[in-house]
Amino acid sequence: MAVLEVKNIEKHFGDTKVLNDISFSLERGSALAIIGSSGSGKTTLLRCLNFLEKPDGGEIFVNGEKIFDAGDTSKLSEKELRARRLHFGLVFQNFNLFPQYTALQNVTLAEELFKKEEEGYAAGNKEYRKAELKKVQQHGMELLEKMGLAERANHYPHQLSGGQQQRVAIARALALNPDILLFDEPTSALDPELTGEVLKVIRSLADQHTTMIIVTHEMAFARDVADSVIFMDGGYIIEQGPAKEVIENPKMERTKQFLSHYNE
């Protein structure tokens, strides 16, 4: 069954339509790359999935459960909205790490807050709470180790390189075990030297069958790592299909035109 199903998503800012009739689905354990020129709506699409933007039309299903329906005007409670958001983890283009927290604290902050909201935590004694928080710390360390950053755990973001910061951000997005990990041009703010280390991490996540959607300008990477590709232009999906097929043999004229810029 598809872990994510997006049906006829629409979004406009004033009179400008930025997303038109966007529909696609994603299988558990697969990676989807979204490509297209700047302003084609890729980032807005990601932002609609976790409600940083509210779509004006369409429906979104995760694991068969409807998490968004534009036709339903009843207002969600903050609690419900938060719960639905957590289906997704998001890695930002400019990292957005919290500067006042160390790498490890960045990763553990949200999990710690959720832990403290649990009924069992509030009822538990001091030792129990300590042990629970220790578990959160350990989980954070495991994630940083996975990113090859264990020895940087106590560094503040400004003491880390861009590539390291982005890997911390990936660990942070993984901390709450989202169903789907979203990447919004994860390497666009990095110089080529640092791009490699971030792509390597994403590639290893794909190898471990992490379900993810990657908005990217790295065509070779999209071709090699993603299972499927969506090409967007002017707020429309122009072409979608298996990654290799779409990128090597695009059918639509507009896709060919776009991809030709990468072969020069």
Binding site: R82, L97, F98, P99, L109, L113, Y156
Partner: protein, 228 residues
């Protein structure tokens, strides 16, 4: 010199009592205005239009008129209208009126500084909190607040130093702060009259106090340098 040494204990004692009143007004103003400023700041950013409009108007009026006039109006106006002062009589009444005027005036200045501080925190910080399932309250308390504080410490420090000296404006409604105490030896008090030096000497108190504050605020600024 002989005269000075004779007058010194009396003057020193009187100035200390006056300075205590200055310190009290300073402390009460900060304790009241720092949180009230944050409330006004949230109010001016409120989505409820009438609330934000009225508060912006209030901030404009308070920042746009002299604190001395505000002191006079707050102290005397209720008396003119109701026929009786609402502040109570004597020094305690004058202090209450001064505190109200100062807290309100400084809260308006602080609210604008807070607003700038909040606006300077990148929107991505809030979004990062949202996608991690944090509540609005958690985002403000855990993410925005400290980043805002770091940005507002220098401008707030400026205001705090200004406040030390602004407390002397309360002299206009005869609050017995240090300027009043120094001036009393000009008119005649404690058997000393026609002496100007006690008034000049008050400057030393302000200078020492702002010196101490400058060092403390500098330390706070340093403390927040662990992140960027």
């Amino acid at each position: 010199m002989q005269k000075f040494l004779e007058q010194w204990p009396t003057v020193f004692n009187a100035l200390n009592i006056g300075f205590l009143q200055t310190l009290k007004l300073f402390a009460v103003t900060l304790i009241g205005a720092l949180p009230l400023g944050l409330l006004i700041c949230f109010g001016t950013m409120s989505k409820i239009k009438p609330v934000s409009m009225i508060l912006k108007l209030v901030v404009w009026v308070v920042r746009g008129t002299p604190l001395m006039i505000q002191l006079l109006i707050i102290y005397y106006f209720p008396g003119l209208i109701f026929g009786t002062s609402i502040w109570g009589s004597g020094e305690a009444g004058r202090f209450t009126a001064s505190a109200v005027a100062f807290v309100f005036n400084y809260a308006c200045y602080f609210s604008e500084i807070y607003r700038g501080g909040i606006a300077a925190v990148p929107i991505g910080q809030r979004e990062a909190g949202l996608v991690l399932g944090m509540t609005k309250k958690q985002i403000f308390g855990r993410i925005t607040l400290l980043q805002m504080i770091k940005r507002i410490v220098p401008p707030i420090s400026n205001e705090v130093i200004t406040l030390v000296k602004d407390t002397s404006l309360a002299r206009i409604i005869a609050l017995q702060e240090i300027i009043w105490a120094g001036q009393s030896f000009l008119k005649g008090s404690h058997g000393i009259a026609g002496e100007i030096w006690p008034l000049f000497f008050t400057a030393i108190y302000y200078l020492l106090f702002t010196g101490v504050l400058t060092i403390l605020l500098g330390k706070l600024e340093k403390k927040l340098e662990f992140f960027r």
